[in-house]
């Protein structure tokens, strides 16, 4: 189970990185960023996973619980990721309005 999830996290990282390196459409870059974020979240939650341990909600009786800190970090990361995505989309809207393009190739004259 853990091996499958870890492989998925690696595969998502690879897909996201490849997309970030090759895509030229800015909305696609945002999508690739979100794929990378999903990979990181999966890896963080996987770090806390123990077979046969319960979710960290304390209940009666003797149980083993997973470590709650990575879950809290994942919540934080989700919120920050959503904020970042919103910011990137807002900037893309502004760029499209002022430059008339969503391809980063065509924005090179900004570097003067």
């Amino acid at each position: 189970m853990e091996a499958i999830l870890a492989t998925t996290a690696f595969a998502l990282t690879a897909i996201g990185l490849y997309g970030l390196l090759t895509c030229r459409h800015m909305i696609r870059l945002v999508l690739c960023f979100n794929i990378l974020e999903a990979a990181v979240l999966l890896a963080i939650v996987l770090l806390a996973y123990r077979p046969e341990a319960l979710a960290p909600l304390v209940r009666d009786g003797e149980h083993a619980y997973v470590f709650p800190l990575p879950h809290a970090l994942a919540v934080t990361a989700i919120v920050i990721g959503a904020s970042l995505t919103a910011l990137m989309l807002a900037f893309i809207v502004r760029i499209y309005k002022s430059r008339g393009t969503v391809y980063i190739d065509e924005l090179k004259e900004w570097r003067r």
Partner: protein
């Protein structure tokens, strides 16, 4: 050419990551799960250990996270001011309009329940806030189609709730400082932790849950409505 270079870079990184992963301890070598969750119940009185981490042990980080959301809401509202729904020029049909009105109370109650029970069941302020924001976004998106703007709460009210919630979060923090000398202190202030599992338990955690839930909900509503009605 570019694609092959990118594929090469990604392959090298994945191979390196695979080597790093093979160095990780195997299942037999891993330490036994120490029951942090049980200790956090004794420390904070919150059954949900994730809430205990978010709003007690690392409440200061949560304050920083809340600041990120308020900053994003401000920047997005500045970059994409709410004008009119240029995305949707067609009015929604009556089924959608009345269906949304029927749905809204249920969504709001669900969000509030997730927020209020955040310390004793899965969920918490952030999750509940996101559910609340979906109700505001749904209303604005459906009723703003066709030109005019209509909101559950006016944009100025939204911003006011966000500011009040931020101030309330800081006030809880300074209350901890005044009572025990530590910013955002919970059990150390002498506030009763209550019986674990009851609604009024875990000291300041339910309060911070509701505050951050309102803040996140309103902040996300500002962000999404700004982007949509841009």
């Amino acid at each position: 050419m570019k694609r092959t270079t990118a594929a090469l870079i990604v392959t090298v990184l994945v191979v390196l990551a695979g080597f790093a992963a093979s160095e990780l301890p195997s299942e037999a070598e891993r330490a036994e799960p120490v029951n942090h969750a049980i200790r956090s119940l004794a420390d904070t009185g919150a059954v949900n250990a994730v809430s205990a981490v978010l709003f007690d042990y690392r409440a200061f980080d949560t304050l920083g996270e809340a600041t990120v959301i308020i900053t994003t809401a401000m920047i997005v509202a500045f970059l994409a001011p709410q004008a009119r729904a240029s995305m949707l020029s067609v009015r929604m049909s009556g089924i959608v309009l009345y269906g949304v009105v029927l749905l809204l109370p249920f969504i709001a109650v669900f969000g509030l329940a997730i927020m209020l029970y955040g310390h004793i069941s899965p969920g918490g302020g952030f999750t509940g806030g996101v559910v609340l924001s979906t109700s505001a976004v749904l209303y604005a998106v459906v009723y703003s189609a066709g030109g005019q703007q209509s909101y559950v709460l006016a944009p100025a009210t939204n911003k006011m709730i966000e500011n009040v919630a931020m101030t309330a979060f800081l006030a809880v923090g300074f209350f901890g400082m005044a009572a025990s000398g530590a910013f955002l202190a919970n059990a150390a202030t002498g506030i009763g932790l209550g019986t674990p599992g009851s609604l009024l338990s875990a000291g300041t955690i339910p309060l911070l849950n509701v505050i951050s839930g309102l803040k996140v909900g309103v902040g996300l509503a500002i962000i999404i409505i700004s982007l949509f009605l841009e």
